[in-house]
């Protein structure tokens, strides 16, 4: 008997599933209207606490995507640049940093259509003193 029912049901097996789905809450969100909220541990874009940065270049050395570059002017005077178009948000810079300076935020941002947004000067200590 059970077999017969299963055989009959096999002709429209998904029917109960779709009825259930019809009367339950949808799993997707209407995206631009309802904003997406990433989790707290989400790896967003690179941020820096500029006071802590000493320009050691550890993050630059380990960055797999060559998204960071350090320009040394003289001793203690340097500039740290970030190319956001190259950044893969892997978080290696955060691990390499010994001074708790560079870190990733957990904000979800849409990509930009403007070139200017893809370049950022993280630390500018060229004109210090």
């Amino acid at each position: 008997m059970n077999k017969l029912i299963l055989k009959l049901r096999s002709f429209f097996y998904l029917l109960p599933n779709i009825t259930e789905a019809l009367f339950s809450k949808p799993e997707t969100i209407a995206y631009p209207a309802v904003s997406h909220r990433p989790s707290e541990s989400y790896r967003g874009s690179v941020r820096i606490i500029a006071e802590n940065c000493v320009g050691c270049g550890l993050c630059v050395r380990d960055c797999p995507a060559a998204a960071l570059s350090l320009e040394k002017v003289s001793k203690g005077c340097f500039r740290l640049d970030h190319y956001r178009d190259r950044c893969t948000s892997c978080g290696q810079c955060e691990m390499s940093c010994k001074f708790n300076s560079i870190y990733l935020d957990n904000l979800y941002k849409e990509a930009s259509a403007d070139r200017v947004d893809f370049f950022e000067v993280l630390v500018d200590k060229t004109k210090k003193k």
């Binding site: 097996y13 541990s41 989400y42 893969t88 957990n106």
Partner: protein, 360 residues
């Protein structure tokens, strides 16, 4: 009847990644097919020779978007073997957890692609809906949905806290229920069976001759699984079954993959229950002593093979990646022969190609 050549790819709704297939048709019957790879060849093997071991862990992850974690796991494993590093147990467990989550994610994604290709959009949506649970877990743990950046040489970067564990427990239970439901539907649904039964069959002989690995081999009855045959990480401490089917058609492959998903959920539950205490990583030196190492792991699609040679510097001298997709690709023209055009989509989906893996 005249011959028509149908190009499938490099861009085609059937393929999620670029791959060029030229299928010669006689009416609706496929009489010949040729295959061309290389549309996503990024030269990662060469690139890896110019980057340090630390940078490579992230580069390797970008070989593929679906099985990213298993690639970096195998890579880190081989470098750790060169360094003779003992990775802490907790680190290995977290690695395994992500590997298994990734297996669930990959198999559900694959089922969605197959269902879409045979026109069963509802199942496609259901499979991807359930995959979302795994992606959310992975985002919660690692901060990324597909590229986790969890593996570092010497362990893992993230640690699981109470919040993660309770989330995992809750989600895995729900996932188990839903995957059971999916298994029921693909076993019983008539239209799914009608489109997947008796197509793309591979005999055990062919599997052996072409060195096929992974679910495709297991669906034809070849009992091969690196996790059990040559345990890496801490798989020897966990108990799991390797499902086997003998039919070797697309239907068997789908059932097998869902059975594997259930096993992977079981493994995840075991991992979170037996999670050892302690650190998750040890610090690794930047320079790696000279030597050669071979490393294997069981990716969602089968055996991943890594060969690393170090000459004592910061960069690897040679890094060879062999992905499971290459093995299944060879069998495709043979599988497609004398098949209807309508079945081509099901067969191509059925072997679970990951072109980015194949091209590197």
């Amino acid at each position: 009847m005249s011959k028509i050549t149908v190009p499938i790819g490099p861009q085609h709704p059937l393929l999620k990644e670029p791959l060029s297939f030229l299928v010669s048709l006689e009416g609706e019957k496929v009489i010949d097919s040729t295959l061309r790879l290389g549309y996503v060849h990024r030269g990662i093997e060469k690139l890896a020779e110019q980057r340090t071991y630390i940078q490579n862990a992230y580069l390797i992850e970008r070989i593929c978007g679906i099985c990213s974690h298993i690639h970096s796991t195998t890579y880190c494993q081989s470098v750790e073997a060169l360094l003779k590093l003992e990775v802490p147990k907790r680190g290995l467990y977290i690695r395994m957890l992500l590997c298994e989550l990734e297996r669930i994610h990959s198999h559900l994604l694959w089922l969605g692609v197959l269902a879409k290709n045979i026109g069963l959009n509802t199942l496609f949506m259901y499979a991807w809906r359930d995959r979302e649970i795994v992606l959310n877990i992975m985002e919660e743990i690692s901060g990324g949905r597909v590229s986790h950046a969890v593996n570092i040489i010497g362990g893992v970067r993230v640690d699981l806290n109470e919040k993660h564990l309770s989330l995992l427990q809750k989600s895995l239970q729900e996932l188990n229920m839903r995957v059971d439901e999916i298994l029921q539907s693909i076993e019983n649904d008539r239209s799914f069976r009608a489109r997947t039964r008796n197509i793309g069959c591979l005999s055990l002989e062919d599997i052996k001759r072409y060195c096929v690995v992974g679910p495709v081999a297991r669906a034809s009855g070849l009992d091969i699984d690196i996790r059990r045959d040559a345990p890496y990480a801490a798989y020897d401490e966990l108990s799991f079954e390797v499902p086997l089917m003998t039919e070797g058609d697309v239907w068997a492959r789908s059932i097998l993959r869902i059975l594997e998903t259930i096993q992977a959920i079981r493994l995840c539950t075991q991992i979170i229950h037996n999670l050892p205490k302690g650190p998750v990583s040890v610090s690794a030196p930047r320079r790696v002593p000279a030597g050669e190492v071979v490393s294997r792991a069981e990716a969602p699609r089968g055996e991943v093979f890594y060969y690393v040679r170090s000459d004592g510097s910061q960069n690897p001298a040679r890094l060879k990646v062999r992905t499971p997709t290459l093995t299944t690709l060879i069998t495709l023209p043979g599988q497609l022969k004398n098949m209807q055009l309508a079945d081509v989509s099901a067969v191509i989906a059925g072997v679970d190609l990951c072109i980015a893996c194949g091209d590197r």
